[in-house]
């Protein structure tokens, strides 16, 4: 097992970084099922560009942890073909920006095949890697692909936030017989989170398609995914001091989206703010707005939904510009107050 940062707390919980949680998930699934293998750039001998696959090559060898040349379209296609022929590949994109090179294989070869073949041909593959903004990597390396992939029927799109999410959802994704796009976040890799005893088990999985209420509240619902769940919780802590209780929902899965959980919350709080790192147009927040409007929760809204998103520009480089191009805690607080009209 790869060395992981662990602090043992009295309750049986441990603290694990997201990176180590992902590593554990892959290690456990590689051990459990010989058909599972990992391929991508630098995943083997380099221990992973972001060290997510550290130690796996040493443990499992060349056959199961495969370094590829810089050929996204080629190796993504190879991974899909291997999945069609009975294996269960994990295809890593160094970042999802590079998945654009291979997007035809993800969509046309992986996502659509089960349907086109009327169920004859399954594609049990996971495409994983860091998604969205990093720190100072500028426009071509900072795009969020949640909306693009979640647009397509035939794919499942998963976006974990903390370590438990990362581990449980990655294990579920690997065990899922459908193609899954697993969107990680580079800025979260080094962040430690508490992991319950249950989550430390080798059989711990989190169901795909179910959101989690991270914080209960009565005045307003905040819905987010990935890194911004943390921002929402931070904003909620600040707002609580002013007597505003936010209910924070961690989507966990973008597609299929757990609209029911959002609706149940909105029917309780009557107000909704969505928070995401991606661009506003045709984004995750836009979809949530449409779905709420189409369902019974619409009648419970006391004000229109507000979306907090990344700014509609290619990501600038300078730190101050970059900071202002992404949702900040103050933006969430501002949106909550605006929605509540306080």
């Amino acid at each position: 097992m790869a060395a992981s940062l662990r602090c043992f707390l009295r309750s049986g919980k441990v603290t694990v970084t997201v990176r180590d949680a992902l590593n554990q998930a892959m290690d456990e699934e590689l051990e459990r099922d010989e058909r599972v293998f990992l391929l991508g750039e630098e995943v083997a001998q380099y221990d992973g560009a972001y060290k997510v696959s550290r130690g796996l090559w040493k443990k499992y060898g060349d056959k199961r942890i495969i370094d590829t040349p810089i050929s996204e379209m080629g190796f993504a296609g190879i991974a899909v073909g291997a999945a069609m022929a009975g294996l269960r590949p994990i295809c890593e994109f160094m970042t999802f920006n590079f998945s654009m090179q291979a997007i035809d294989q993800v969509i046309n070869s992986a996502a659509k095949t089960c349907y086109m073949s009327a169920g004859l041909q399954a594609v049990p593959i996971v495409f994983r890697g860091p998604n969205g903004a990093s720190a100072g990597v500028a426009a071509q390396h900072s795009q969020c692909f949640a909306a693009w992939y979640a647009h397509c029927p035939g794919l499942k799109v998963v976006s974990p936030w903390n370590s438990e999410d990362a581990k449980g959802l990655l294990k579920s994704s690997i065990r899922d017989d459908n193609p899954v796009v697993f969107l990680e976040n580079e800025l979260l890799y080094g962040v430690p989170f508490e992991m319950s005893e249950e989550a430390q088990s080798k059989d711990f999985t989190i169901p795909i398609g179910k959101a989690k209420v991270e914080r209960a509240g009565s005045h307003i619902t905040l819905v987010s995914h990935s890194r911004y769940v943390g921002h929402c919780l931070d904003a909620a802590a600040v707002l609580a001091k002013e007597g505003i209780e936010c209910e924070v929902i961690n989507l966990r899965t973008i597609r299929p989206m757990d609209v029911e959980s959002i609706e149940a919350s909105v029917m309780k709080t009557n107000h909704l703010v969505t928070v995401e790192g991606g661009w506003p147009q045709f984004g995750v927040g836009a979809e949530i707005c449409a779905r709420i409007m189409e369902g019974s929760a619409f009648n419970y809204l006391d004000s229109p939904v507000t979306r907090v998103t990344g700014v509609d520009i290619p990501m600038p480089y300078a730190k101050i510009l970059e900071d202002h191009s992404l949702p900040q805690i103050k933006d969430i607080i501002f949106s909550v107050k605006k929605t509540l009209n306080v």
């Binding site: 459990r32 379209m73 041909q121 080798k202 059989d203």
Partner: protein
């Protein structure tokens, strides 16, 4: 050997007082006297064209053996594909088939020759001109035509159409030019990984030969010695663009660079068979991938929307039909070597026509793909999943492809 057999056969004819293949006509009745089985040559050896080689010291043999049974089987296969494609042409013009329809007539020797040289447990993937391979890989004429007409009885229940038909060890039918090549290399990776001595035949056309993802696939296949036979079906035109106008090098068998290559006469089923056997041996011996170029020709245009005469002459098409038709070539070889009779071939033709006609009936009157149920996405249901509200997860049959029994799941029996 050939001349000696003819002499013997003629002598026998003189002795029995019959002419080869003759019909005895008596008054008021027409009696066909068929030759008895014992009169036919059971096996013959034929010269086949020498293949051009790239990065290879030796190539496929220059002679091919053909038994009577094999010959009749190859004939039947090719003629079935031919008639099926012509029926599809007819149905398309009647507007019973719609959308894309890329026909394979002229290229039958490629599909038949390849299938004759690989095992059913080997794997095959091709592009959109796929009806021939769909048939040789085991899908019935009925299921193919019914898929083209969008009926529930189609192999993909009407959801795939012309370019998306599947069968065990046959991965379609792929619509995006060149995308099937990395897929094929991946299937070969799975064969290597599972240690099952199987290989993957990965087909593409002269148009796809310029796609970047091919070269990415060649690189990885060679690097990892994947058991993949990359086959370029060079029918001289990528849609409306001739090879000379599309490629800086039209030696497609050399395009693998560091991968050995063979250029093959794709109109001769025996040549294709011998070359593919050679290639399969190469892959199975662990030497890695190999490239084959089959020089072939399509009689139809690129698709049913292309008459196929704006970029080539009718004379050219006619010349290929008269001089190089794969079905005629095989038939003539067998007849001139006394391996079968004209009547036999006629019988086969009649039988095939009947089968194709029946299949077309089935495809025309069968029930259409039903909307409602089939508009739900096919997602495979997981016991652990929450089962989200508005996207019903449909339990579907997953085609379990020949997994190596040594590859185990180590826990969780409920999987």
């Amino acid at each position: 050997m050939k001349t000696m057999l003819s002499i013997i056969s003629n002598a026998l004819c003189r002795m029995t007082g019959r002419n080869a293949g003759a019909q005895t006509v008596s008054e008021g009745a027409r009696v066909v006297v068929s030759r008895s089985f014992a009169d036919f040559t059971p096996q013959a050896t034929f010269d086949i064209k020498k293949c051009d080689l790239h990065q290879l010291e030796e190539g496929p043999p220059l002679k091919a053996e053909l038994t009577r049974d094999q010959g009749l089987q190859y004939y039947r296969t090719m003629q079935t594909v031919r008639r099926m494609e012509l029926k599809a042409d007819q149905l398309y013009k009647q507007k019973i088939i719609r959308g894309f329809c890329h026909l394979y007539d002229g290229q039958e020797a490629c599909a038949a020759g390849i299938e004759a040289s690989i095992n059913p447990t080997d794997h095959l993937i091709t592009a959109y001109r796929a009806h021939g391979y769909t048939y040789t890989r085991g899908v019935s004429i009925k299921e193919i035509l019914a898929e083209l007409t969008g009926r529930k009885g189609g192999v993909a229940k009407g959801k795939g159409g012309s370019m998306h038909m599947y069968a065990p060890h046959f991965y379609g039918g792929n619509g995006i030019v060149g995308a099937q090549v990395p897929l094929g290399a991946g299937i070969a990776l799975a064969c290597q990984y599972q240690g099952n001595n199987q290989l993957c035949v990965t087909l593409y056309g002269d148009g796809a030969a310029n796609q970047g993802q091919l070269f990415e696939s060649f690189n990885m296949a060679a690097l990892w010695k994947l058991p993949c036979i990359f086959i370029c079906e060079n029918n001289k035109y990528g849609m409306g663009t001739s090879v000379e106008r599309a490629s800086a090098s039209i030696d497609y068998y050399k395009r693998g660079d560091f991968i050995p290559g063979i250029r093959v006469d794709g109109m001769d089923v025996l040549c294709v068979r011998e070359a593919t056997k050679f290639a399969a041996d190469h892959c199975r011996s662990g030497k890695g991938p190999i490239v084959m170029e089959l020089q072939t020709y399509r009689y139809h245009g690129h698709s049913m929307s292309d008459p196929g005469v704006s970029y080539r002459t009718r004379e050219e098409i006619q010349e290929v039909r008269t001089k190089s038709d794969p079905i005629s070539m095989l038939k003539e070889r067998m007849l001139s070597n006394n391996m079968a009779s004209v009547e036999e071939f006629k019988e086969i033709d009649v039988d095939i026509r009947k089968q194709v006609e029946e299949a077309a009936q089935f495809a025309t009157i069968g029930s259409r793909a039903a909307a409602g149920g089939s508009l739900q996405p096919h997602l495979l249901q997981q016991p652990a999943a929450g089962g989200p509200r508005d996207e019903p997860l449909v339990q579907t049959q997953v085609c379990q492809l020949d997994l190596n029994p040594n590859l185990q799941i180590h826990s969780d029996p409920d999987r």
